[in-house]
């Protein structure tokens, strides 16, 4: 009898412990970037869809600053009860190597990745470079002559450029990086003829490519993008380099596995919906879905990739 009671007790205990009732109140989705930008649009879309899936309101809060450090920090150091989730971006794998924050990728647990945008190599349409090979050969022969841009110093588009040059044995200083506040001002610089080439995602420069003012020489991905079939990958040209930005959903580390499972199922379900595909296409976001396990492994790998590239570029702070 006593034994039975004990078993019953343990059973009750176990049920209350494992059957999580989540969510029972509204969830905050931290967006580390400003309202109105691309990441913000994705955050708001995901928040809408998640609230439909989970039956509780999901509210986007933009916490910007510190090159993404403020928002990622707010997301990582929040209570790990599943009520604060973060739209995590690639910067989680570069910020701490740049010495911007003690926060690392290990401070977060990864739910799922939903997006990946490879870097493109873009020049003016009337430029004499007809392929990435032309450009790289020219850069190697005329070191210090060309100006490249795409975004700020140490950002993903700068690192994409460094990685590309490094892959063909050219030192990063062979071209001068012109820092700007983002892809849009870099496109202005390129259109005005003030820089020679830019690295940024192809959709960001798509309006100018479509109008025939700019041309994309290559895409830094494993395979061609179905939206830009004519643009070859660097790998096809024999340059072993792929790079780009990505976004996903994360929670503070040691959040309970049950909550993570509920969130992962919800995000993966959204990511397979027509609404999601439609949204991503409209906004020019590349779709790349990785589940929690794959995403975690990917972030870990990214962290070491960028450490290496930042070191080559002279940005690494140890």
């Amino acid at each position: 009898m006593k034994k039975l009671l004990l078993v019953a007790l343990i059973a009750i205990f176990a049920i209350t412990l494992f059957a999580v009732n989540y969510p029972t109140k509204s969830i905050t989705l931290v967006c580390p970037w400003g309202a109105g930008g691309g990441t913000d649009r994705l955050a708001r879309f995901m928040a809408d869809e998640l609230s439909k899936e989970l039956g509780q309101p999901v509210v986007v809060v933009n916490k910007t600053g510190g090159g993404g450090a403020v928002g990622h920090g707010a997301g990582a150091y929040a209570r790990n009860d599943g009520y604060t989730i973060t739209l995590v971006t690639l910067e989680i794998a570069t910020m701490h190597w740049l010495g911007l924050t003690p926060l690392t990728y290990e401070n977060l647990d990864y739910i799922a990745q939903v997006n990946q945008d490879p870097a493109g190599l873009i020049v003016k349409a009337d430029n004499e470079w007809y392929s990435a090979t032309d450009l790289l050969v020219d850069v190697a022969q005329n070191q210090g002559q060309y100006l490249f841009s795409g975004s700020g110093a140490g950002t993903i588009w700068d690192l994409s450029r460094i990685g590309m040059l490094n892959a063909v044995g050219i030192v990063p200083d062979a071209v001068t990086w012109v820092p700007t506040t983002g892809a849009a001002p870099s496109i202005v610089e390129l259109l005005g003829g003030h820089v020679d080439a830019i690295t940024c995602s192809i959709p960001e420069a798509y309006p100018q490519i479509a109008s025939g003012d700019l041309k994309a020489l290559a895409i830094m991905a494993d395979e061609r993008d179905s939206r830009f079939e004519g643009v070859p990958t660097l790998k096809e040209l024999g340059v072993d380099w792929a790079s780009g930005t990505w976004r996903g959903i994360a929670v503070p580390n040691s959040t309970s596995p049950e909550i993570k499972k509920i969130l992962e199922d919800a995000v993966l379900k959204i990511a397979s919906s027509d609404a999601f595909v439609d949204f991503m296409n409209k906004n020019g976001f590349g779709i790349k879905v990785r589940n929690a396990e794959e995403f975690t492994a990917f972030v870990e790998e990214q962290d070491s990739v960028w450490k290496e590239v930042l070191k080559i570029g002279g940005y690494l702070v140890e």
Binding site: N62, G66, V188
Partner: protein
């Protein structure tokens, strides 16, 4: 024609009207900016047609930029960053009991300036956009320096104090991550300081909180009085008569505003300051500026509303944002399934015609909605000063927090409030300090990035045609006083000789 009439379809017209009242509300509250109004509207606009959605954005942004001038004129607290220059002569007019006249002028000039900006957008967008492409770091550097030289113009009387204020502003602007190297400066390992001192909390503190402190110092007697003493009487005819005589000032300022707005690296706030400075510099009575002169009110307000039209030029022609509002708009266009960029005129020509029409209709509506705004505001300001000032403190805090959801920015606002209060006690003008904070990054980043491009060679800064124009303007700003005196002397001397010879 059909596209033009589409604006008057209730599905478009009603959202436009609603958003305009919303813009008046948001712009009139210090800390809530036109950008924020637009960011709040966008999620709603997805449920509407593209034209209705963009009509809401246009309506809210134009009214918010005007409405920011209301607290600037009545209380010396700019409602949006673009209203900084309205705190100068507008507020002085209020002190003389002519606040409602100042705002009526402001409203009409906003609408006229806005119209000129839109007309330029419709007529000469492609050439203006191509001119903007000629601007790179060298030109932006000189433009920034030209703007900063206005701080000499803006400092009443004591130039040394004006320049000191500008330098304090410049020093503040060096805080944060350095754009050329990504190195954090003066951040003391504080993550919040990494992106620098947020401009808007600093501005609210300098103008808003310091004004509150000043009035508290005035003691109980002044605090228990109504906030503004004059009877708010709006007399459109009187205002129009004044504007009729100064129409050239409005046109000149609006053109300057549109040009500056068309540059992707500068916006409505810089446009307002520059046109104020230019107006004072070319005025026959520069000594009247800062004492409540009409020209000092109409120049900046014509420019900032015109600048909004200007920001749409690179946005429509190249698909490149001219400011934070158009950046949000371009994102919204994608959501509507419209690809912004050079092809938009061909692929979505109807929509572009619609945008132009809405923008023009909004200027007419602005006059009516604006009057309601002025009336509503003056009702609030009939309350006791102490009540209004308490409200100002609360909204200053909310506004500062709302910029990026950060408590840190509330402290920034408080610190700048106290700083502004103390600086004004020793007669240091605050306007040049604001200019320093706005233009510091523009000058420094463009100088350094420019030098990076040339490998350290300065000569390119002096060789390009647009740069030379700016250099001449700067030289003129500093020497025009002496130059005019010299010319006067020469001509007077000549005159005397002629008399002698006769």
């Amino acid at each position: 024609m059909e596209n033009i009439l589409a604006v008057f379809n209730p599905n478009v017209f009603l959202p436009l009207l609603v958003s305009m009242f919303f813009g008046i509300f948001v712009g009139g509250i210090p800390g809530l900016t036109a950008t924020m109004a637009v960011a709040l509207i966008i999620p709603i606009s997805y449920y509407l047609s593209p034209l209705a959605g963009l009509a809401m954005v246009l309506g809210a942004s134009f009214t918010a930029i005007f409405s920011g001038d209301i607290p600037a004129t009545f209380l010396r607290i700019p409602g949006t960053p673009a209203s900084g220059a309205a705190t100068l002569d507008g507020f002085e007019m209020t002190k003389k009991g002519k606040g409602s006249l100042a705002l009526t002028l402001d409203l009409f000039c906003s609408a006229i300036g806005g119209t000129i900006g839109i007309v330029l957008l419709i007529v000469v967008a492609p050439p203006l956009a191509n001119l903007a492409l000629q601007f790179t770091n060298y030109e932006y550097f000189w433009l920034g320096l030209f703007g900063l030289s206005m701080s000499v113009v803006l400092s009443k009387g004591n130039v040394i104090k004006g320049l000191s204020a500008a330098i304090i502003g410049l020093l503040i602007s060096t805080i944060g991550m350095d754009i050329t190297t990504g190195y954090p400066r003066f951040t003391f390992q504080n993550i919040e300081l990494m992106s620098g001192i947020e401009f808007i909390p600093a501005m609210i503190g300098l103008f808003g909180l310091s004004e509150v402190l000043k009035r508290i110092q005035g003691g109980n007697k002044s605090l228990s009085r109504p906030t503004i003493n004059e009877k708010i009487k709006v007399s459109p005819l009187k205002a129009l008569r004044i504007i009729g005589k100064r129409f050239f000032v409005v046109v000149k300022s609006a053109v300057i505003g549109t040009l500056i707005g068309a540059l992707p690296g500068a916006g409505a706030d810089i446009a307002a300051w520059v046109s104020y400075g230019v107006e004072k510099k070319t005025s026959k009575h520069p000594e009247e500026f800062g004492t409540g002169t009409v020209d000092g009110v109409i120049a900046p307000t014509s420019a900032n509303n015109a600048a909004l039209g200007g920001t749409w030029i690179p946005a429509l022609v190249f698909g490149i944002p001219g400011d934070t509002i158009t950046a949000i708009v371009l994102g919204a266009m994608l959501m509507f399934g419209i690809q912004p960029g050079p092809l938009i005129f061909e692929e979505s020509g109807d929509l572009v015609t619609g945008i132009f029409t809405v923008a023009l209709v909004a200027q007419v509506l602005l006059i009516f909605v604006g009057f309601v705004g002025i009336k509503a505001y003056s009702q609030v300001l009939k309350l006791k000063t102490s009540t209004v000032m308490a409200g100002v403190v609360i909204f200053s805090m909310i506004g500062s927090y709302a910029i990026r959801n950060s408590f840190f920015d509330i402290y920034v606002m408080l610190i700048f409030g106290i700083m502004g209060f103390l600086l004004e006690k020793i007669d240091v003008p605050l306007a040049p300090m604001i200019l320093g904070i706005i233009l510091g990054p523009m000058i420094e980043d463009n100088l350094r990035v420019g030098l990076t491009k040339t490998g350290g060679d300065m000569s390119l800064f002096f060789q390009r045609p647009i740069s030379i124009v700016f250099i001449c303007l700067i030289v003129f700003t500093f020497t025009s006083g002496y130059l005019f005196k010299f010319l006067k002397y020469v001509f007077k001397g000549k005159g005397r000789n002629e008399i002698k010879n006769n």
